[in-house]
Amino acid sequence: MTARIGVVTFPGTLDDRDTQRAVRVAGAEAVPLWHRDKDLKQVDAVVLPGGFSYGDYLRAGAISRFSPVMETIIEQAKGGMPVLGICNGFQVLTETHLLPGAMLRNNHLHFVCRDQKLRVETDKTAWTSDYSAGQEISVPLKNIDGRYVADERTLDMLEAEGRVAFRYLDVNPNGSLRDIAGISNEAGNVVGLMPHPEHAVEPLVGTGRTDGLGFFTSILKNLLKGANA
């Protein structure tokens, strides 16, 4: 038996097949989910992959947020189901307010694609337990609307509650406040980040590193642990 991890496809999603591959490489079963279906096919966790859903028109993630599949995901995420939003998926999560803050155009106004160094700030979330807090990893980053902003109070709260999950190292690639690359909700089941761990799970392609695999092994172990408990 293994865990079933749903990967949502919105119109304009790009990294769904890569994310499915990453889920499989980690040893879990990838279950495609379609934006028009409310039904989550009994998955144990969901990944909202990267891309340009609805062309990122209006605001990144703004239109997808209102899809039928998101209605169920929002409800179940509030009930504790693990949800990971990568890049566009992170943008969707902020638009739904499952995660606080918002994502704006990069401060340099360009799309940026680079191998990005990050620090995993917490191993307390469902998606980061295979890392150790403070661990430095490199995964690809690629976005144009990746500047994380929130008001000072929210930022202070995130820091105080240990919910800043990832921080950019060496270079802040988009002007995100306090170098924030990713955050989690209070319970730690919902995590969003801009960089793309699913592009760093095989040594051959992408950057040639497998630093991103830990996201998918973390969740797999947590789900299996939960199932055995």
Binding site: G12, L14, R17, F52, G55, F111, C113, L204, V205, G206
Partner: protein, 749 residues
């Protein structure tokens, strides 16, 4: 306004028609009347005018392009040749690959972002129409002087447009070129290439067969944008009267195109189409006439069923509109429902607009009245052919006599060092990361090599690790000095790049960017370049699978350098054996393969140090290129080389610097016997590459080169954190990195 029906046209033979305004010549108009045996209707005139434009009919170029077919080498790998939307090549294991490079030069000057974006969109649809999933894009670009203010407008817009569209489609950008030269001021070149992959049985062709089959138009609604745009625009030089005469350009919708791709691939998976064609230049005029012309029967279209964005469009405008993100499919009646269902799933509008008929005519109706009744071949395939006069320009001799080998050379090691730093920092030789970092190279998770590698490489089978590699190259300076040799050098460089990454070159696509065909000198350049390319393909065994011609790239009397851009596609059985350019392992030995002569004509050194263009370009020896490629491929397959970098503009020193910076390691070089440091480092002799050989493999490797007769000279070792030329100079990597990486952002950011 009364509708100009076929009947009405027959009854009013003398009615004046705007053929001239639509870009037709008097004799062309006469011919249309002859073909139809009456005057054309307004709709027919619209169709002929766009389809017979230079852009769509290749009327000036086709007598020369014929050679690509006539001289085509025997090649078992070619599954579909020139004439379809794109050529298709067998890469083994049941896979076929299709690729093509196209230009979007003129629109990109007028509206850089949208012009470039829709260029990507157009080439992607060509690839899709062959039945393939698009897997990567590349973008060979040329701009005016790097420090010209207009370059600051055009380049960032073009780059943002290519990225904005390609990134949004989820296509990794795996390579391209960026070249600056004042000759492209006012005529930037924006070429775009797409590669697609399919199984052999999935190949689709653009033809409408089987009477009763339905014609379905799907994708975006048709709007009033770009009417006659691409075709007319790309068929004339810019008018100096300026902005007021600028014709409309289109705005692209990459999101719509992404839906179109996924929807079309699902339709292919269920095998629902009998024929398919994308809509590009000349829109519906092109799609309907080409589909019908290539098929066995005729076609009947109810034009008023076309979904419109603007209800006031006339039938002529609908036929000419170049609205983006549309496709046209021929579908058996039994498959129509399922076809429409899949479109609905992807939120793609799809409409049955007509059907294939028994007859031999393309007939188009508007609210029941016939407005077009033509033999489709006469529109699509029997356009005019010009034998334009051509003549070697008078200045050619003087240009070639102005020998670059005689230019003043650095007087001492310090001066050489200084010139080298200047070279690696010059806009053409500097790192293009500021540009390529705006492109997603990781999406789809199959990118094995991307910029700044010699070629882009993607894995196409996750189990077997089969992959393909593509490189695009062109050197307008060489081609200006000698268009025949220049075109061959473009091919040779691209071929070498593919081989250097470990892949076996199979076939090519080309984009021929030239000035006005009405200038006999330009026409001579074109004739020479095509002849050179066709001859070279014959020797290298790489057929031309398709491509594109862009003429009228000139302002007033001044044409751009002749710029044939060549894309070579190669296959690699196991992408884990790819060869990167990075010098990464301390202690590995550096070998220079090939012969170095004193060849500075058209060189980067002559441009950067002397602002000079004259003499002859480097010689080409295609047999040598072939041998070099074989050695590079065997070396990579058998683990004898760990890194390789082809030599082209900037010569040895440029390649060494790039490989060192990529790998984060220095190199110690020794000037080989018989060469002076200057020639060794900066000559641009073709047919050469540098490889890094592990010490344990040295003997095996040199034995192989010796046995095959390829000169291999040991020139140094990977070591330290500087590029050092013994007895000459040493430059720390940090200094080189600054010089190489800060130029482009400094100019553009």
């Amino acid at each position: 306004m009364t509708l100009d029906t076929v009947k009405h046209a027959a009854e009013t033979p003398e009615s004046a028609q705007p053929w001239k305004e639509l870009g037709l010549k008097q004799d062309e108009y006469e011919r249309i009347r002859e073909i139809l045996d009456r005057r054309p209707t307004g709709a027919e005139l619209a169709m002929y005018s766009v389809m017979w434009s230079e852009h769509c009919s290749y009327k000036s170029s086709k007598v020369h392009l014929k050679q690509f077919g006539e001289k085509a080498p025997e090649n078992d790998a070619l599954l579909v040749g020139i004439g379809e939307n794109a050529g298709v090549v067998d890469v083994g294991q049941g896979y076929a690959v299709t690729f093509k490079v196209e230009s979007h030069n003129h629109p990109s000057y007028i509206e850089p972002y949208q012009g470039a974006a829709t260029g990507v969109g157009g080439i992607v649809r060509d690839i899709l129409a062959m039945g393939a999933r698009p897997v990567a894009v590349m973008d060979p670009l040329r701009f005016g002087a790097a420090d010209h203010p207009d370059t600051k407008r055009v380049l960032p817009g073009v780059v943002a447009g290519i990225g904005g569209y390609g990134n949004c489609l989820g296509l990794p950008n795996i390579g391209g070129e960026v070249v600056f030269d004042p000759c492209y001021q006012g005529n930037p070149l924006v070429n775009a290439l797409c590669v697609g992959v399919m199984k052999h049985e999935d190949i689709h062709l653009a033809k409408a067969s089987g009477a009763g089959n339905k014609v379905i138009l799907y994708g975006a609604r048709t709007g009033g944008d770009g009417i006659g745009g691409v075709s007319v625009l790309a068929s004339e030089t810019f008018d100096s009267t300026g902005p007021s005469r600028r014709p409309a350009v289109q705005v692209g919708d990459p999101f719509q195109e992404k839906l179109l791709i996924e929807c079309t691939l699902e339709i292919f998976r269920e095998d629902l189409v009998a024929g398919i064609q994308d809509l590009g230049g000349a829109g519906l005029s092109c799609a309907t006439s080409e589909l019908a012309s290539a098929g066995s029967g005729g076609m009947r279209v109810e034009l008023d069923t076309v979904p419109l964005r603007d209800a006031t469009l006339s039938p002529e405008e609908i036929l000419m509109s170049e609205s983006q993100e549309r496709m046209c499919a021929v579908v058996e009646p039994g498959n129509v429902d399922r076809f429409l269902e899949i479109c609905e799933k992807w939120d793609v509008i799809a409409t049955v607009i007509g059907e294939v008929t028994e007859g031999e005519r393309l007939e188009i109706f508007w609210h029941g009245e016939q407005i077009v009744d033509v033999p489709p071949r006469s529109v699509a395939h029997e356009g005019p052919t010009y034998h334009r006069p051509y003549a070697r320009p008078e200045w050619q001799d003087a240009l070639q006599a102005d020998d670059a080998n005689k230019l003043a050379r650095p007087a001492n090691a310090d001066e050489l060092r200084e010139q080298i730093l200047k070279l690696v920092a010059s806009p053409n030789q500097a790192s293009k990361a500021w540009i390529t970092d705006q492109y997603d190279r990781f999406v789809q998770g199959n990118t094995v090599l991307a910029q700044p590698e010699d070629s882009g490489m993607v894995r196409i089978d996750e189990e077997t690790n089969l992959g393909v590699a593509v490189s695009t190259d062109g050197n307008g300076r060489y081609a200006k000095l000698d268009p025949y040799t220049g075109a061959q050098l473009a091919l040779a460089e691209s071929y070498r790049n593919v081989a250097a990454s470990g892949a076996k070159p199979l076939a090519i696509s080309d984009c021929l960017n030239f000035g006005s065909p009405e200038d006999p000198g330009v026409m001579w350049q074109f004739a020479e370049a095509t002849r050179g390319l066709a001859d070279a393909c014959q020797i290298l065994g790489t057929p031309v699978t398709g491509g594109n011609v862009s003429l009228y790239n000139q302002t007033g009397d001044t044409a751009i350098h002749p710029t044939p851009v060549v894309a070579v596609l190669g296959v690699i059985d196991d992408v884990t054996r790819r060869t990167p350019i990075a010098f990464a392992e301390e202690g590995q030995l550096l070998y220079l393969l090939g012969e170095t002569r004193e060849e500075f004509g058209g060189s980067a050194w002559s441009q950067v140090v002397h602002d000079h263009l004259g003499g002859l370009p480097p010689q080409v020896d295609l047999e040598r290129e072939r041998l070099l490629a074989e050695i590079l491929i065997s070396g990579s397959r058998d683990g004898m080389i760990d890194a390789a970098h082809d030599l082209s503009d900037g010569g040895v020193v440029q390649a060494v610097v790039e490989s060192c910076l990529r790998g984060g390691r220095g190199a110690r070089l020794v000037v080989p016997d018989g060469l002076d440091a200057f020639t060794f480092l900066l000559s641009e002799s073709a047919g050469r590459a540098i490889v890094a050989v592990p010490r344990s493999e040295e003997l095996r490797f040199t034995d192989m080169c010796g046995a095959r007769g390829l000169p291999a000279t040991r020139i140094g070792v990977i070591d330290g954190d500087a590029v050092e030329v013994q007895g000459e100079f040493s430059i720390p990597l940090s200094e080189l990195r600054t010089a190489h990486e800060e130029t482009v952002p400094g100019l553009l950011a």
